[in-house]
């Protein structure tokens, strides 16, 4: 990692720390009103109050963990599916099965992500886990495609074909010939999925999917408080800034990382 990349990594780590450790900070009640709505900041309440007179500082600290947890869980699950399906379809002898599998994946990738997320939320109302599962489902086809393409390229190399001709099994070939070359691509792909998943999780919160009010959630805070931005803009700006810093820094980090992920930002947009 170059020094420049470390500089970019600092804001990512900061926001992740606020999101994950925030709920442990004893900053007062997240749900109890402490004053008038949209009151300006005071020494006691450094970010003022929100639409229902609740402490914005406490809510901002509490509202990130669920988003990051959803994004991380969806990224891990989607990458796992992507690795399993993508590598199998790229390495297997059953070329026809692999090809039809990829056609199915293409079809699934064409379905609008937000629509699928909203459908799942109708079926499992107020469920944060359903939102995470939904994000994993909509992002997995993109991971499968990228990892399949790389795995198929690695499977066509001379050393991989030698191993195949020697009669080595699918698992052995995958472990010793495919996976070592696939790791950088898989990591970059996971990064792209993480940004898209963060955006989707925040959008889900914004649209009121997942656990309902009064639970704090950065996405929902932006929505709840956009009417009072003229009186106290902080309940909108703070969660928005945290989300933007996280998403944009990770996007720029991936953009600078390697050649294999060229057009990475476009793929984020396509998935979110």
């Amino acid at each position: 990692m170059t020094a420049r990349r470390w500089v970019l990594a600092v804001p990512v780590l900061l926001v992740l720390t606020v999101a994950l450790a925030g709920p442990w900070v004893p900053a007062g009640s997240v749900t109890a009103p402490i004053g008038a709505s949209f009151a300006p900041p005071t020494a006691e309440h450094p970010l003022g109050t929100d639409v229902l007179g609740r402490d914005v500082f406490a809510r901002a600290l509490a509202g990130g963990r669920v988003l990051v947890a959803q994004a991380v869980a969806a990224t891990l699950l989607g990458s796992l599916v992507g690795l399993t399906v993508g590598v199998w379809a790229g390495v297997t002898h059953h070329r026809a099965v692999g090809r039809s599998l990829m056609r199915v994946v293409d079809g699934l990738a064409a379905l609008p992500a937000l629509l699928l997320l909203m459908l799942l939320a109708t079926g499992m109302p107020g469920n944060d886990v359903a939102v995470a599962a939904g994000i994993a489902i909509v992002s997995a086809p993109f991971s499968v495609r990228v990892l399949h393409e790389s795995a198929a390229r690695l499977a066509a190399t001379d050393y991989a074909r030698h191993a195949e001709a020697r009669g080595e099994g699918l698992l052995t070939r995958t472990r010793s010939d495919i996976l070592p070359g696939l790791v950088p691509v898989a990591l970059a792909e996971a990064g792209i999925r993480f940004v898209a998943a963060t955006q989707l999780a925040a959008t889900a919160g914004f649209l009121g999917l997942g656990a309902g009010a009064p639970v704090a959630n950065w996405g929902r805070m932006v929505r709840e408080n956009s009417t009072g931005a003229a009186m106290n803009p902080l309940p909108v700006i703070v969660p928005a800034a945290l989300l933007v810093v996280l998403a944009v820094s990770v996007t720029v980090l991936i953009d600078r990382t390697s050649v294999s992920t060229r057009l990475a930002p476009e793929r984020i947009e396509r998935a979110a």
């Binding site: 293409d106 064409a110 909203m118 109708t122 079926g123 996405g219 956009s226 928005a240």
Partner: protein, 321 residues
């Protein structure tokens, strides 16, 4: 592969995807626990009352039978009645679609103009100052979730510099099409969300065309100015560009859910958010079906158009795509 065979295969794939979508829509709304019974019987209902509602809705019948009945109705244009308002779903979706298009069409035109001009300019001089500046800006736009861009516009232009109406309040009986001033803000918000990735794709496509041997040949032969830009670069970068525009427009259908909800535009997206919140199952099904079908159709048209355009392009790009 012959082009007509390719197109037939592509249409069959799209039809199969649509069939999968109908199964997902039905399964998510009727088989998962959050079905219509909870909405109609209310939170205080006893088990016996809930069972009575289930029987009245016919939810005791096998799921396959109900699915086939729903699909049969949808094919005849009958999408059932809303559980909340009691109105017929099909005409309601039609009215919402018209409002959504009033925002979507200007947004698409805006993106095509801006992304087309800037993408071509940046791609012609890739690595130049405009290119680097646009690259940074679009990276920021892409990293930012669409709802934040829309909220930022809303807050900036209504709270701090109130020149445009924030909320699309349409007088009853009139259509959004006759009120352009209400369209501006949601259309710009929608366009900003899709601008970044489209601009980058067009730029990449133009930049790639510029470096091809035939473009260099044309330059060396003294083809300059408009003839070079239009005749050599744009016409050859068109196939991927059409593809990018189709993908972008399909993406805007999803972005419209957020923008319409935020600006209270009574289109398909805001109706879907409300229907999901109220678990109005027939309305969610109808809206999802129409939104999904439109997305798949757009992608199909984009794919076929790109294929036809590419067929006429000179085979210099290695022939793979």
């Amino acid at each position: 592969m012959r082009v007509d065979v390719w197109i037939t295969a592509r249409v069959v794939t799209a039809a199969a995807t649509l069939a999968v979508l109908t199964v997902i829509v039905f399964w998510a709304t009727e088989v998962l626990p959050g079905d219509a019974v909870g909405v109609l019987s209310g939170p205080t209902a006893t088990d016996a009352e809930r069972e009575a509602v289930r029987l009245a809705l016919g939810l005791d019948r096998p799921a396959l039978e109900r699915y086939l009945e729903w699909i049969g109705g949808a094919l005849r244009g009958d999408l059932g009645t809303s559980l909340v308002s009691g109105r017929e779903v099909a005409p309601l979706v039609g009215a919402r679609l018209s409002t959504s298009l009033a925002v979507l069409v200007p947004a698409v035109l805006l993106i095509v103009t801006l992304a087309g001009t800037l993408g071509t300019a940046a791609g012609l001089r890739h690595g130049g100052r405009l290119d680097r500046w646009l690259s940074g800006t679009t990276l920021g736009l892409i990293g930012t979730p669409d709802f934040l861009i829309a909220t930022a516009l809303l807050v900036l232009l209504t709270a701090w510099w109130p020149v445009l109406p924030a909320v699309a309040l349409i007088p009853p009986g009139q259509s959004l099409w006759s009120h352009p001033e209400l369209v501006v803000l949601p259309a710009v918000a929608l366009a900003l969300g899709g601008f970044g990735s489209t601009m980058r794709l067009l730029r990449a496509s133009v930049a790639q065309t510029v470096t091809t041997p035939f473009a260099e040949f044309a330059r060396l032969n003294g083809v300059r100015g408009h003839r070079y830009v239009w005749g050599v670069v744009v016409s050859n970068a068109l196939a991927p560009a059409v593809m990018a525009l189709a993908v972008m427009t399909a993406g805007l259908l999803g972005g419209a859910i957020v923008v319409e909800t935020l600006f209270n535009v009574p289109g398909m997206g805001s109706e879907l958010t409300q229907a999901v919140a109220g678990r109005d199952v027939p309305l969610v099904q109808g809206l999802s079906l129409v939104l999904g079908t439109m997305t798949l159709l757009l992608l199909l048209v984009g794919d076929v158009a790109a294929k036809l355009l590419h067929r006429h392009a000179p085979a210099t790009s290695g022939g793979h795509r």
